[in-house]
Symmetry: C2
DNA sequence: GTTAGTGCAAACCTTTTGCAGCTCT
DNA sequence: AGAGCTGCAAAAGGTTTGCACTAAC
């Protein structure tokens, strides 16, 4: 969904198009993909150093409530923050590599199928759907095999401290 | 997956089956469904008032890492906590009513299909998958229609303060 | 001129961590 | 005996809220 449409949609709802919102909207739209609040905040600050983190959260909430962006968790691969993307024409699943963090998008009829079946099966009105798949990309499968081999004798798995990836504030 | 199997699996990994873990494991298994850490903690305290919340988190982390339970978000319908369920034989999607919170489970071939397609399409090794669908159950669709009608003239949507559901500690 | 929106500080909720002491095997 | 676990207190990470001020319409 192009920014202009989002802006129109907001105006129609009587939502004010402030300078801050323009900046955030443009960033979400341009960036292409998967920004979390903090990242969006950092980017926004480059355009307006006064813009507050809270405004970012409030704007994201607004857009989410209006169905203009989708909220993702990406399997909490790097913390518990949420990610956002403008709502695309096509529903898609996110496929996250648990080792390198790479994200693939899967468009395919099983998704549409599932949606239809859920609607007809339960008489449920689907508003939003989120499918996230975690695993290992072809590249990391190889690397993991090597790592496993290297870890060799250590049968008692060496306390793999999957330390929460720290983020820079 | 029955508790006994989980317990065996843990023992085999050299994980100690402490009193606390027994309690938690049994609760997760019996409860049937979708407990979050806090709820599990409350239930556990009834059996052992000394059991600490931290132990609950550590146990859940352990089970998740071992692939013995699945972690769910349930569309963050009532906050940002995570929910857990023992890993069932069949993969399924969770369908959450955004109005009443009711949860349906959808088992169906589109899920298996999608998994297969992702594996073959990207050469991706799927480890876990999570599909969550939000919308309105047949019951709430009717109620919402009435609510909408009642809200009638108020075109400017009355600041629907979706206040984060407070939880009792 | 109103009313909605912003910034700031402080709170909040969920989860994690450091460490001393306890407990399974 | 010794590694592994637990409890406690404290912190961290992510997000929300109250309120006075500002800006969009």
């Amino acid at each position: 969904m192009p920014v202009t449409l989002i802006k129109d949609s907001l105006k129609q709802q009587g939502v004010r198009l402030t300078r801050q919102r323009q900046i955030l909207l443009d960033l979400i739209d341009q960036s292409g993909q998967h920004l979390d609040a903090e990242r969006l905040y950092q980017l926004a600050r480059e355009k307006d150093p006064k813009l507050n983190r809270v405004t970012v959260y409030r704007t994201l909430k607004l857009l989410k409530a209006g169905g203009l962006v989708d909220e993702l968790d990406l399997m909490h691969h790097s913390g518990d923050q949420h990610y956002y993307e403008t709502r695309l024409k096509q529903e898609h699943a996110h496929v996250i590599c648990l080792r390198c963090g790479k994200i693939e998008e899967f468009f395919g009829e099983p998704l549409k199928r599932m949606r239809e079946q859920i609607q007809s099966h339960f008489g449920f009105q689907v508003v939003l759907a989120r499918t996230e798949v975690g695993g290992y990309c072809s590249h990391c499968q190889v690397l993991r095999a090597k790592e496993m081999a290297a870890a060799g004798g250590e049968l008692r798995s060496p306390a793999k401290r999957a330390t929460r990836r720290r983020r820079v504030r």
